[in-house]
């Protein structure tokens, strides 16, 4: 049985991911500079995937895309079960709610009004 090992490992891994993704404290024994580098690498990867999935959002935000996404990411660490498309959609909604992005138009010109 691996119950006790699992419990200890779960606590340690969760603490590390909180430090890397959710602005948690650097866990004891880790090199703070390496945690900072890893944090940035994970953020760059996540931002790059969102940019690839929703290029129009990145284009519209221009220079604001990076700082805005990084602020969003710190507030909304990617949770288990969240797909990258959902992550990208939530960021767009978040930026729209803050007035940084134009709200999507509800009716397209080619659609018939109902």
């Amino acid at each position: 049985m691996t119950g006790p090992q699992r419990d200890r490992l779960a606590a340690a891994q969760a603490e590390l991911l909180r430090a890397l993704l959710a602005d948690g404290d650097v866990p004891e024994g880790f090199d703070a500079e390496r945690v900072r580098i890893e944090r940035r690498a994970l953020l760059n990867k996540r931002r790059g995937i969102v940019e690839m999935l929703r290029p129009e959002v990145a284009v519209e935000l221009g220079d604001r895309f990076r700082p805005l996404f990084d602020a969003y990411a710190k507030e909304h660490p990617k949770e288990v079960g969240t797909r990258f498309r959902e992550d990208a959609a939530r960021f767009a909604e978040w930026a729209t709610a803050r007035g940084e992005l134009q709200p999507p138009r509800r009716r397209r010109w080619w659609r018939r009004a109902t």
């Binding site: 090992q5 699992r6 779960a10 390496r34 660490p77 990617k78």
Partner: protein, 265 residues
């Protein structure tokens, strides 16, 4: 192990390139990106030509504290059967913990606790897979404190206790040598090379004194040197080039494959 030869990671962005590159003996697909019911035409074409297609998973989180998600294992197994693959693979890592998803392959603490959990997860996974499982060493930017084993010892014991195969990524080994001080020669001496399924080669870049395994840059000579050190000990059944972003011209990928073949001799 079955002889695989020299291959390249199949990606939708370079599907035509992979089809027309000469001398591709096998390919690998990212398991999570394919659906068993509608496989890409390019992948089916390669299968028709008799090219082995190996599913490579990135999300089982075998080193995670939670038991492995049966649905992810079922998908990997179904894909192996649909592709008639000789084996499948994932990584010695965790990707989820505490309700958070890192979106990346995170290194494990090299402790007895972590090894016990990994072994239990791997054994459970093997029971549900129709083909053998190979496990890959990952590249790390940071190291856990209080390691009780070297990476080579950790992998050797994993193989001993689970009978899994190894997928040795020489770029990841180089990254760990650079970033964590892993001793390449000792690593290669400690792992059971007779359980080697195949080898990964990839490119990366150095940024502020740390090597990042990007799969978006050219393969460095230092990585080919690690491949040469491995080749000096064993003739690997297969070697596969991974490129995941900033895809270069076909000729550049062909040159990288030629450089790999030159090392293999």
């Amino acid at each position: 192990m079955e002889k695989l030869g020299v291959g390249i990671g199949w990606r939708p962005e370079i599907d035509l390139t992979v089809e027309r590159l000469p001398g591709i003996d096998f390919v690998e697909v990212v398991a999570e990106n394919l659906h068993v019911g509608h496989l890409p035409e390019s992948v089916l074409l390669l299968r028709e030509r008799g090219v082995p297609v190996l599913p490579h998973a990135v999300s089982l989180s075998l080193g995670g504290a939670e038991p492995v998600d049966a649905q992810r294992v079922a998908h990997l197994g179904a894909l192996a059967e649909a592709l008639d693959a000789p084996l499948v693979s994932d990584h010695v890592c965790f990707v989820r913990a505490g309700g958070l998803d890192s979106g990346h392959l995170m290194p494990l603490p090299r402790t007895r606790d972590a090894l016990d959990v990994l072994v239990a997860n791997v054994k459970a996974t093997q029971q549900d897979l129709p083909v053998p499982l190979a496990l890959e060493n990952v590249a790390a930017l940071l190291d856990w404190p209080d390691g009780e084993l070297t990476e080579g010892q950790f992998l050797a014991e994993l193989v001993d206790r689970t009978d899994c195969h190894l997928l040795v990524d020489v770029a990841n080994l180089y990254a760990n040598a650079r970033n964590l001080g892993t001793d390449v020669a000792r690593f290669l001496d400690e792992i059971p090379l007779e359980r080697l399924a195949y080898v990964h080669v990839a490119g990366g870049e150095e940024h502020q004194g740390v090597y990042h395994d990007t799969h978006a840059h050219a393969v460095r000579p230092e990585v080919l040197d690690v491949l040469a050190q491995l080749r000096a000990r064993v003739d690997p059944p297969g070697v596969l080039l991974e490129r995941d972003d900033d895809y270069p011209a076909d000729a550049e990928l062909a040159d990288e494959l030629a450089a790999i073949r030159a090392v293999l001799g």
